[in-house]
């Protein structure tokens, strides 16, 4: 974990005893985790374990039923809407879908947060947007609309938009899902480079084991509403947890069963029709 000058862990985000439910379904039961400043922290786990939910809790879009989420020492659930919006200006989020505004061009999408939150002259906004688009390799696509972009391009535009206000932290929601090898390689390099060059804190939510372990500084593995293991990528690879081993080696059966639990044994189900 990152240490500040006094040797105390310097976490930008701290999640303490968070409990969260959607309807009757329990998503999190007493989850604790830390996101170190200036590092890439990966949150891994199978689909449907609430990884994206965690990002929404950190950003204050949702509030936990119990427990606390701190961003830079401030209790997120207790912030007023204005304070929350001020805090969100310090973080960017890359949605799985890109979440680009479909009626705006690529240029206007990246300019959107600048026009909303700054009083910069249009000429300066133009320069900033072109610099952000150049950083993701899409300066030439500025006149296109989201419908004209491939999935990988849309995610890169969304990344340019997420860094438009120079945030301290970026949350990546499944950045590698559905990407071809070239797009994936580009995204991997971009995430690593943003972290190395700008010193951004990054949270990468993903179930793509190889890619995520390749760029993360620290990894949390989540399943069934709790953190089942955490450590550096090497520690996760060497984990003794059978669950973690099944997950990182993509084994079909193990602690996570291949079969969804059925109420009747297989033979009984088949014979039932003959009765």
């Amino acid at each position: 974990m990152a240490d500040d000058r006094d040797g105390v862990p310097d976490n930008l985000v701290e999640v303490r005893g968070v409990h969260f439910t959607i309807g009757r379904r329990v998503i999190y039961e007493s989850v604790d985790l830390d996101i170190a400043r200036g590092r890439i922290t990966a949150i891994m786990g199978p689909s449907g374990t609430g990884k994206t939910t965690l990002l929404r809790l950190i950003s204050g879009q949702w509030r936990p039923a119990a427990g606390k989420v701190y961003f830079d020492g401030r209790h997120v659930a207790k912030l007023s809407q204005n304070e929350l919006f001020d805090q969100r200006k310090r973080m960017g989020m890359l949605f799985q879908s890109g979440a680009l505004l479909t009626d705006l061009s690529v240029f206007d999408n990246v300019a959107f947060p600048l026009r909303e939150h700054t009083k910069l002259p249009e000429r300066l906004i133009r320069d900033i947007v072109l610099m952000k688009l150049e950083a993701v390799g899409l300066r030439g696509a500025r006149a296109l609309y989201p419908a004209q972009l491939s999935g990988g391009m849309a995610r890169r535009v969304a990344l340019a938009r997420a860094i438009a206000l120079d945030p301290e932290m970026i949350m990546y929601d499944e950045p590698f899902a559905g990407q071809d090898p070239i797009s994936m390689g580009v995204l991997l390099r971009l995430i690593r480079r943003l972290n190395d060059v700008l010193g951004l804190t990054a949270i990468v939510v993903s179930h793509d084991v190889k890619e995520t372990l390749g760029i993360a500084d620290y990894v949390y593995v989540i399943s069934d509403g709790t953190v089942i293991d955490h450590g550096t990528p090497q520690q996760i690879r060497d984990s003794r947890s059978k669950w973690v081993q099944q997950f990182i080696h993509a084994e079909a059966d193990g602690p996570v069963p291949f079969h969804y639990q059925a109420s009747e044994p297989y033979a009984n189900d088949l014979l039932e029709a003959k009765r």
């Binding site: 200006k89 949605f95 879908s97 979440a99 680009l100 959107f112 939150h117």
Partner: protein, 261 residues
């Protein structure tokens, strides 16, 4: 679950929905002053919900005016009172049919489009994306659409009325085709349609209808489940609820505005 229990659950769900809708309306109203800083958003939406609804309103106005003149003439000719055709067409259009028919058309054309647009923005994470960029979607997306509806519907209603009464609609059938005297057609309208009572009330009624339709539409879209089925249901609900609400509100407004006469 018994029928009684189901009925109770449906009723409480309706009341809860109404409460959420009222709170949402309050949030929209509190967001309206922010439009003063960004009038371009409002102008864009007036174009989208108003100007783009013009064709359907103009065509419907012409046909409604023609039908009213035709059936009105058949009724009046039996009493030898065809000179009252202009008055009868004008009063029916101005007091009732204009605001109600334009409102129903607006609910079908603009209301459904608003619900689908906002619902799809939600389903594709555009609203969440805005929130994450510290932009309030109610201020940026919902409030301009709501106010545009309140402004556009009275204007569309007045255009509908002009089309129904004027040269393309009632006048064309009554005067040009059926031979009613042009002077009595216009003078009847001039002497019987009161500015303060009728014309001002058109704007009042249609302003209320505009608020109801866009309120229902933006609420349904904003709270739609983020799935294709959810958006489709929100669109249908908008047209059904807004249409029924207009008819109900029309009865109450007519009783209040014209009930004492």
């Amino acid at each position: 679950m018994s029928a009684l229990q189901r009925g109770f659950n449906t009723t409480t769900s309706w009341i809860a929905d109404l409460g959420r809708g009222a709170l949402f309306l309050l949030r929209i109203l509190m967001s309206l002053p922010s439009l003063l800083l960004k009038p371009r958003l409002l102008v864009e939406q007036i174009y989208s919900v108003g100007v783009l609804s013009l064709v359907i309103v103009v065509v419907a106005g012409i046909f409604v005016g023609m039908v009213l003149a035709l059936s009105g003439y058949r009724l009046l000719v039996g009493f030898g009172a065809t000179e009252a055709l202009g008055t009868s067409v004008a009063l029916v259009v101005v007091r009732e049919l204009g605001p109600v028919v334009t409102g129903l058309l607006f609910a079908g054309r603009a209301g459904s489009a608003l619900a689908a647009e906002i619902g799809l923005m939600k389903a594709t994470d555009q609203l969440s994306g805005m929130e994450m960029m510290a932009v309030d979607p109610v201020k940026r997306i919902v409030a301009p659409r709501f106010l545009a509806g309140v402004i556009a519907l009275p204007l569309l209603t007045s255009i509908f009325c002009v089309m129904a009464i004027g040269a393309g609609g009632g006048y064309f059938v009554g005067v040009d085709m059926l031979g009613v005297d042009a002077g009595s057609y216009w003078s009847g309208i001039q002497s019987n349609v009161d500015f303060g009572e009728d014309i001002v009330n058109i704007f009042l009624k249609s302003g209320v209808f505009g608020a109801i339709i866009t309120w229902v539409a933006v609420y349904q879209g904003y709270h739609a489940p983020p799935t294709s089925e959810g958006v489709s249901r929100a669109t249908t609900n908008t047209v059904v609820i807004a249409s029924l609400a207009i008819l109900g509100a029309n009865l109450m407004l007519t009783a209040v505005l014209f009930g004492s006469n």
